[in-house]
């Protein structure tokens, strides 16, 4: 197998594995729009990376994390409804990113690569980010799992029961920010949220506990990556969108099967 294919496969699998549990929280807590907003800000991170000549991965992760922090603090002030706030932030950060990239006229930035991902261009350095960052994210999710579930059930109840709700919620947002930054390479800014929510939504059909749903979402994501890459190789279709189409096919299949939901 060609190196670039192996790298693409490893990168895609790594991202799908982390996206499973976090995607489940995005679905349970209805944070899809939040994920989109963070993703859109990633382009701004690229522009900042070019401008200050810092590592793109580092720039994008920092940008997503900073935006997550700004969102949390603005949300608390309740100036506008959360979905309005998210809409403003999502599209203005995307536009700011596009404008900034256009102004950097001495550097050529391939927009398509960032908007829709370039799985086949994954480098060993990217793999280091995916697996290094991914392991930290996984470790944190594992440590915080019960508390994350508790705040997802009911934040006030969790707080009375002694869970540091604000800190756990912030941690979840930062984790999602990191994963989005890492996943950008695979499916691109515009498609990242789908990699988080489609496998998780499909997994709901098969899962009877939160743990099962997280694990099944990861596995479905891995399968979607493999199928997407295969299709991309065979039919010469763009890799990122092919992965999303594969995930959609799984979703449609699982929801058309007559499965009886027990939990």
């Amino acid at each position: 197998m060609a190196d670039f294919l192996l790298f693409a496969l490893l990168g895609g699998v790594g991202v799908a594995l982390i996206a499973g549990p976090l995607g489940s929280f995005v679905v349970w807590r209805r944070m899809a729009y939040f994920g989109d907003t963070l993703a859109h800000s990633a382009l701004l991170g690229i522009a900042v990376g070019v401008l200050f000549d810092i590592n793109f991965n580092l720039a994008v992760v920092s940008c997503c994390v900073i935006l997550a922090l700004i969102l949390v603090s603005l949300q608390r002030q309740k100036l506008v409804a959360t979905d309005t706030l998210l809409g403003i932030m999502a599209h203005s950060s995307l536009s700011l990113g596009l404008v900034a990239v256009a102004l950097l006229d001495d550097v050529r930035v391939d927009l398509m690569e960032y908007l829709f991902g370039d799985l086949l261009a994954i480098t060993p350095d990217d793999l280091l980010w995916i697996y290094g960052g991914g392991s930290i994210v996984m470790l944190l999710i594992w440590r915080l799992w019960n508390q994350l579930l508790a705040i997802t059930i009911n934040e006030e109840l969790a707080q009375v029961e002694g869970v540091p709700v604000t800190r756990i919620r912030l941690a979840l947002m930062l984790l999602i920010g990191v994963v989005i930054a890492i996943a950008m390479k695979v499916v691109g800014i515009l498609l990242i949220t789908s990699l988080l929510i489609i496998p998780a939504a499909s997994a709901r059909r098969l899962a009877s506990s939160p743990e099962q749903m997280a694990v099944i979402a990861s596995l479905l994501g891995v399968i979607a990556v493999c199928l997407g890459l295969y299709a991309s190789w065979h039919f010469d279709t763009p890799a990122g969108p092919s992965v999303v189409v594969a995930a959609l096919a799984q979703f449609l299949l699982l929801y058309s099967l007559p499965l009886r939901r027990t939990v």
Binding site: R30, P210, V263
Partner: protein, 262 residues
């Protein structure tokens, strides 16, 4: 001997912007006593309860409670997204470090042990309230805080639920603070009623409060006939469920209370 005070509230004020929601409220929650907050919508009941729970900071005033006070809280309504696969058992597991035996015992004390393996999405309103109560009991609470525990439960279920709460108080010797919208249904199972309309309108024993002019002004005159009918109705319900032991005491309560009004 007078019971120990678990929570002492002095001159509590809570304001949201220019809107004073809780106005100069002082009250005491004593060990083993059931206190019921009653009042119209927007009277600040939930706000007051949230302040007691430490979920929001008062504008002024003092809430004195032991920092180690174990509180069991039952929120008004729990909305768990249907995409969240959760059985009653797993739901209880997220609450506290309790053993499987503890969880079963907590469910047994609310007579809901049959629900252990069921999905939380399949529970009726009354079943969900029991499961929430079981979760609160898992913490071995010294204070049980219940925000409209009978919401979404039919009349017979409500009476049963209030009796259950009274029996839990007896069993765990905890103090109970609850919000209710119907004084007559909770009468038998409460020691202290506080009628709240931003400030405390009146407080005291349930019989006392129900005849207080400020209570009547807020809730209208409860027809005495109506009241007696209500009580009778419960009594019959409970007698049919004769196997439920802790009901006896409260049933007697009902009787004497009925008698007083006849």
């Amino acid at each position: 001997m007078s019971p120990v005070s678990l929570v002492e509230i002095t001159d509590l004020n809570i304001q949201f912007g220019a809107n004073k929601v809780v106005d100069n409220v002082s009250m005491t929650l004593k060990q083993g006593e059931i206190t019921t907050l009653i009042g119209p919508n927007g009277a600040g009941k939930t706000t007051l309860v949230k302040a007691v729970l430490g979920l929001l900071l008062p504008t002024s005033g003092v809430i004195k409670r032991s920092p180690t006070l174990r509180i069991g809280y039952m929120p008004q309504k729990l909305q768990i997204d249907a995409t969240f696969p959760l059985t009653v058992e797993r739901f209880l597991k997220t609450a506290a470090f309790a053993s499987a035996a503890d969880r079963l015992q907590a469910l047994q004390s609310v007579r809901a042990e049959a629900l252990l393996k069921q999905s939380v999405h399949s529970l009726s309103g009354g079943e969900m309230q029991r499961v929430l109560l079981a979760r609160a009991l898992l913490r071995k609470p010294e204070l049980l805080v219940l925000d409209e525990p009978a919401q979404g439960v039919d009349i017979n279920g409500q009476i049963e639920l209030y009796n259950l709460i009274a029996s839990i108080r007896d069993k765990y010797n905890c103090s109970v603070l609850m919000i209710s919208h119907d004084l007559h249904l909770v009468m038998a199972a409460t020691d202290q009623v506080i009628c709240l309309n931003r400030h405390i309108c009146c407080s005291g024993h349930p019989e006392q409060v129900s005849t207080d002019p400020s209570y009547i002004e807020l809730f209208g005159v409860p027809g005495a006939e109506n009241l007696a009918l209500y009580s009778h109705h419960h009594n019959h319900q409970h007698n049919e469920h004769g196997d439920i032991v802790p009901l006896e005491e409260s049933t007697e309560h009902d009787h004497s209370h009925c008698g007083g009004h006849h």
